[in-house]
Symmetry: C2
Subunit: 705 residues, 2 copies
Amino acid sequence: MRQPPASLDPLFKPRSVALIGASDDVARIGGRPLRYLREGGFKGAVYPVNPKRDTVQGIGSYSSVAALPEVPDVAILAVPAQGTVQALRDCADRGVNAAVVFSAGFAEASEQGRLAQDEIAGIARQSGMRVLGPNCLGLFNAGIGYYGTFSAILDAAFVEPGPVAVVSQSGAYGSHIAHLARQRGLGIGQWITTGNECDIDVAEALRWVIDQADVKVVMAYAEGIRDRDTFVEALEVARAREKAIVFLKVGRSDVGAQAVSSHTAALAGSDAVFDAVLRQYGAYRARTTAEHLDVAYACARGLYPAGNRFGIFTLSGGFGIQMADDASACGLDAAPMPEAAQEELKAMLPYASPRNPVDATAQALTDLPLMTSYIAAMLEKGGYHLFAGIFGSGPASPTFSAKLRQTLRTATAGHEGRVLALSMSAPAEIVRAYENDGFLVFEDGSALVNALAALVWFRRSFDAAKATRPAAPAAMRIAPPHGALSEHEAKSLLRAAAGIAFPKEALVRPDEDAGAAAAAIGFPVVVKICSPDIAHKTEIGGVIVGVRNEAEARDAARTILARARDQRPDARIDGVIASPMIKGGVETIAGVVRDPTFGPVVMFGLGGVFVEVLKDVTFRAAPFDVAEAQRMIHEIRGFALLEGVRGAPPTDIDALAEMLSRLSQFAADNAELIESIDLNPVLAMPRGEGVMPLDALLVPCRSGS
Amino acid sequence: MRQPPASLDPLFKPRSVALIGASDDVARIGGRPLRYLREGGFKGAVYPVNPKRDTVQGIGSYSSVAALPEVPDVAILAVPAQGTVQALRDCADRGVNAAVVFSAGFAEASEQGRLAQDEIAGIARQSGMRVLGPNCLGLFNAGIGYYGTFSAILDAAFVEPGPVAVVSQSGAYGSHIAHLARQRGLGIGQWITTGNECDIDVAEALRWVIDQADVKVVMAYAEGIRDRDTFVEALEVARAREKAIVFLKVGRSDVGAQAVSSHTAALAGSDAVFDAVLRQYGAYRARTTAEHLDVAYACARGLYPAGNRFGIFTLSGGFGIQMADDASACGLDAAPMPEAAQEELKAMLPYASPRNPVDATAQALTDLPLMTSYIAAMLEKGGYHLFAGIFGSGPASPTFSAKLRQTLRTATAGHEGRVLALSMSAPAEIVRAYENDGFLVFEDGSALVNALAALVWFRRSFDAAKATRPAAPAAMRIAPPHGALSEHEAKSLLRAAAGIAFPKEALVRPDEDAGAAAAAIGFPVVVKICSPDIAHKTEIGGVIVGVRNEAEARDAARTILARARDQRPDARIDGVIASPMIKGGVETIAGVVRDPTFGPVVMFGLGGVFVEVLKDVTFRAAPFDVAEAQRMIHEIRGFALLEGVRGAPPTDIDALAEMLSRLSQFAADNAELIESIDLNPVLAMPRGEGVMPLDALLVPCRSGS
């Protein structure tokens, strides 16, 4: 089923294009693409198809696809929904490699539309012709002047080619972001909108654009993902090649998710899982359109800092403080200048603040050599990986701006490998000049800091992926479980197949002596009912803790078995479990759930009030290694509790990571058999003493029962 | 000492202005203001003072202030630091009412500068002349064309008068925000920068601008506040008059706070306290410059929604979902349209999504009457207090834009009382046209939602201040404590003077019978050392819990007294306390600390891991009433714990609020006597059962000891 990425080449890089439904009116859906293809510099053949006309927009037109003098690489269909299926059949019959379907009125509109869309998908599948859409705005490849879109934003001006690719499910969002990028002077090489995704989805488009040499950053937009494997592969390839994917995924809120389902047919998995998967595979999630653009803009140079030391140059204390606040919030390190360098700067201007932010005061505006010395000292002696200068509206003055540019060029010469950024407000042509000098320019200082922090994030993510990773712990394929499992069975299975170490425990059959079994475990013990049919043991009074001797153990077993028989007469009763009372440690929870998009996903969190009140949990798609598990554990807000607070010892985080990774491998290897796993609680014991999962619940898939 | 607000009238609304150090060069500090006064339309008299010239910029000049034909209302000093003190003396001698000192080189620069600044402050104090600065950019009052500033941003164009006032400690920030406001088409009536604040500070400037009829919103910037009472008064008056104060306060982070102290002389109190005080008195804290501007822009119409129901109109599902996500994050209620109205909209366009976001699809772009019907239905039937339409770059098209404007005007006619906003990207002149039609216009949809949520926040804050508030619980002035207090003394004092109900307890002197006393309390009890010199009782083993009978109580008392004598031989020992063991409830903490800026401040938080790991605490300046205490309690992240989780009963939040309010009244009434109070833990018992403060530590001020 899965086609190789190169199967999209005819779509993105056609040598010839047929436009079915070509129109003379350049404002119409069938007229715009033709105008764009004519005026955009496309070198290939363009064939208008319109049975009613001899020429369209001055170009010779053809009555049908069959009548074309050659087989076009791509056919763009600007025909109404009801004519689409037949037009696509004609294309397939002629052997066209790829088609773009603009028309709406399919799965998003009605049941009838859904059926028609299924027909389109069928044609694609049977013929091998790749189909983009329906209900999409098409695509463009600016480098070859190929504009296969009717997006109105090109009416005013074309988008210049550049290092950015746009991959968007939504045509409106894709258009808007292209408009904003153009305003920002940011070139877009490849741009594609996938619409209803009957064949080509965001994941596959992403996979293709990542392979293009000129693409340095991708701005992606989706409401959900269809093809998990291609998606993860695209993210992994991008990360390996140090190409940044900046993702805007909507449907964070309940209202938003509801609107997603009423809007498109995309399966919206849990937003928290999607969020975690992006992080896990190194894609950056933007929260707003402004951030989407700012971060992509910063990434477009492909320059990622080797560390997070951040030097701030300012002419006004207030601006410097504000940026230092932002830096702190974003995890950038506004480390002070070395003492000796501070002394030197102080000697030049006694009332300057040379620490960091380095405040040369308004004096530097009139004494530009002073500014040069200060900035050069920061780059030479401060060891900053990132530098920002705050200039407000100063550069807007045409007379002053030229002098300031020269000053900044001189001061930063030889440091082109650093990330150099300016916060300033000026007309576009002045901003372009500073950008050409090598500076990233942001109007808002907070946006600057956030985007620079994103560069640091990408650098760390690229490096983490390259690091020699420990081999994933082994796991075993299990036989399909025959129905529900008891706690004891679940633990045995996870111990054997996943290598998870549970504390020793004894299963005591109803006719066996609970006293002796408990004694062998060692008092005090906890006694629990063991039944595949009783998942919530406390509800029937099926747990007795603090059992101190053999007599109490026998009593407890008797009591529990009686309660179970009484309250769940139909339940299969395996007996009771006697297990040691474990003291100390920090209560955590771990589990596996099946995400509709990403399949088995591991959840981790702190137990008790943290999960109950604060929902302080985190996710990762299975499988993942121990390093990823470490990152996962460090993400929770209450992480400090695992490091020890109030004099408590630090816990065995390594063992916790090992357990989560093993669990993930097991979940991935047996994905089709397992609906969910709960290990709750898992006590994280003091460092060196491991983890103690005290309970296990494994729910097999219905198909596996 | 405190001067009435009207004492700033001559500064802000002068009838005549002297410019000391006037210069012919309009790019110089002494030339710019003269040019601005000449060209800005100022109707009053302008007197250049320059002993070396007969005319300056073509105006007759005077050799000295003494030589002026009348006493000017205000003197603007554009003279170097070393000439400032003498020039100010001359002004004071002449009886000038107000002066502006531009020059830097005072307290911010050196010890010598600090002494000179003290001299300036002395002149102001003695003469009653109000002094702005030094080290400031001055001020302007655009309505009367009075530009007493050398800010370079006016070189290009004046700032139009309007409903915004700017009050900024930082001249650079004040200039930048004025530049951005001008770009946004936002008029600024009053603009003032306070610099080193030797006399007039941000608080007093704020107090003055709030009194001006044309001011609807204030953009304030400060690194810290000097005059707490004037500041709080300004915030309260603004709130009572429904004028929005949007505050950017820097120094959130450690690095930032460090830079504050190296930058100006402002006392930077705890940022968390400042944050809480802004919230308490109804000022909105902006986190970024962009947000500062966006929120002020939204407030500038003085239109605050009666509720938070938010209708979203979109032509593209994706944009709608994104905005719904933002709305949810900001607390706006994207409530669905009534079912019947949805049916009607669906009947007009079957594949629309009429719920909310209301998605009329791209169809509405070509069918504008459909758009009219949809939007009109939202306003008429949706009950939305706020409305946003998402239009991307569509309005940038000059031909389409006029039709769209007409459509929106028709659709919204008669709903001018609603907050109507558009997310769109277009050239400034097009944006202005939509604004004139009554719409707030934002380029970024997330910024739009955030600003609209701020309007809702202001409305609630205005209303809360107007609500009939319960009388503050009474508190008593206490006699200055003679040194440190024991736990028992602290509790007695707080019980008597603040009305805080502690569980009954017995103080057992060393020679009394602990057994009988404990029995009177009722077993089990906890026995604790009672000494004014032992604040941390557990450190010496001074607490024994779970004491079950008289013999155990006597043993416990003996043991504790022996430990205390052994480990703290110098401590005064009052005896031991026997108090009941309280079960149940949720552990909280309450306390009082002295903030260097705001004086006594009450702290509240959840106990245990919440405060240890998550620092989940909140503050309020004392005193405050029960309603404010309720808001305070609701602010903590772990609030759900107080409402009951995992089947636990809801706690007595009313009693908690009552206690916090009482504590605040006590702290305010005895502010100069109390360094800190700790009530830790305070058990919040089930609803109706009150709160149980189990321990009290009261540290008197050193001066009170």
